[in-house]
């Protein structure tokens, strides 16, 4: 899962001299939240919907009519100049960690200084959604597995014995073992849970997860 595979390539951009009103309309028309600022094909800044909104309500004068007067600033006045970027060869996981730690909405993707794409929170989420086949029909069950490779091997064998196809599998550490999220090509969730339970697997119920 590389950024180059999941980024948006047709990036909508602005230039330094564009007004915030123009930038805001671009965001609205395209239903996006970030605009890389370019000079030629080089990235020089990033302006977000939040930057625009914050600037609009900064140092405003409320008039007697109840109206607020705001300056129609230029992109250059409010843009972020030290933009955190990734390259197409970085992994989607790298992008996720940066977005999460820095609380960002998107990362411009560059080769050198040349803007080649943008990867947003939605792009990263869509990558996981596709990888895990979240939107496909089928059942998703959760199974607790004791530590070591054998319980996982036993689970894979059991599912195969039941003539079910694993569509996707996520294994995550839980307590001292693992929690497996398995997506199976069946719609009989009750039957699968019962058969796995009968085979000695711990298939938790909803109430185990909510306080």
């Amino acid at each position: 899962m590389f950024v180059g595979k999941r980024m948006t390539r047709r990036v909508i951009t602005v230039t330094r001299g564009d007004t915030l009103e123009f930038a805001s309309n671009l965001l609205r028309e395209n239903r996006i939240h970030q605009l890389p600022v370019v000079e030629g094909d080089q990235l020089v800044g990033l302006v977000s919907g939040t930057d625009i909104r914050n600037s609009t309500f900064e140092k405003t004068t409320v008039m007697d009519s109840g109206e607020i007067v705001v300056k129609n600033k230029t992109v250059e006045e409010v843009m972020t100049r030290d933009v955190i970027t990734v390259s197409p060869e970085d992994t989607v996981e790298d992008a996720l960690v940066i977005i999460h730690k820095r609380r960002l909405g998107a990362l411009p993707v560059v080769r050198g200084k040349k803007l080649v794409g943008i990867i947003t929170k939605a792009d990263v989420l869509a990558a996981f959604c596709d990888t895990l086949r979240v939107e496909e029909p089928g059942v998703r069950i959760e199974v607790y597995l004791p530590p070591g490779p054998d319980p996982l091997i036993r689970l894979v064998r059991k599912v195969t014995d039941l003539n079910l196809e694993i569509r996707s599998l996520v294994l995550t550490p839980s307590r001292d073992g693992y929690l497996a999220f398995v997506r199976l090509s069946t719609i009989d969730v009750g039957g699968v849970k019962r058969m796995l339970g009968d085979a000695g697997f711990h298939v938790p119920e909803l109430s185990d997860f909510l306080e």
């Binding site: 705001v70 996981e93 990888t131």
Partner: protein, 211 residues
Amino acid sequence: MFVGKRMTRRVVTASRGDTLKFASHLLKENRIHQLPVVEDGHLIGFLSGTDIRNSTFEETTVSERGEIAVKNKTVGEVMTREVITVAPWDTIEDALVIILRKRLSALPVVEGKTLVGIITKADLLAAFKDILRIEEAGVRVEVFLPADATSLVQLIRAIAELNLAIRSLILSPSRTGYVAFIRISTIDVASVKKAVRHAGFAVPEVADFLE
């Protein structure tokens, strides 16, 4: 993986009568992008930073001095009334699909009409980061597998024979079978790749993914 486990419980909210300027300050101070609108604990609307920004630049008059006069509207005037919500016992996959399909940034979480939380794109990204242990030290390898469960069992064995523990694993359908993303608690990526290849599996390099 339920919404109730991953949602933000301490929700910052607005009331109908608050001004957009006040709402914008709330967003800025809390570094958030959405405000559920409540009345007596009940969800009655939803206001995003984008709603505020769009409203600001709607029907504006730009004066000769480059200033814009905007009406300081109330939250009630611009909020979304038909809010898409989820319940704490919905899965985060459900929330993910809704957010991506409807191109939303967050979903208020309700029990009946009572607001009990909010789940944002950032919350979902954090959930994936935690589940996959993305921030932990360790190596991540991708392995191509044929479309049969035996190969998965062989791969798990091959890793166990190296005396290495799988931290997390994603198994996802690919064109020819599966691709497995495995996180292992070691820093010796070369040895892992070598051993996995030796066991007969295809371990792609970055170049295979980028045109």
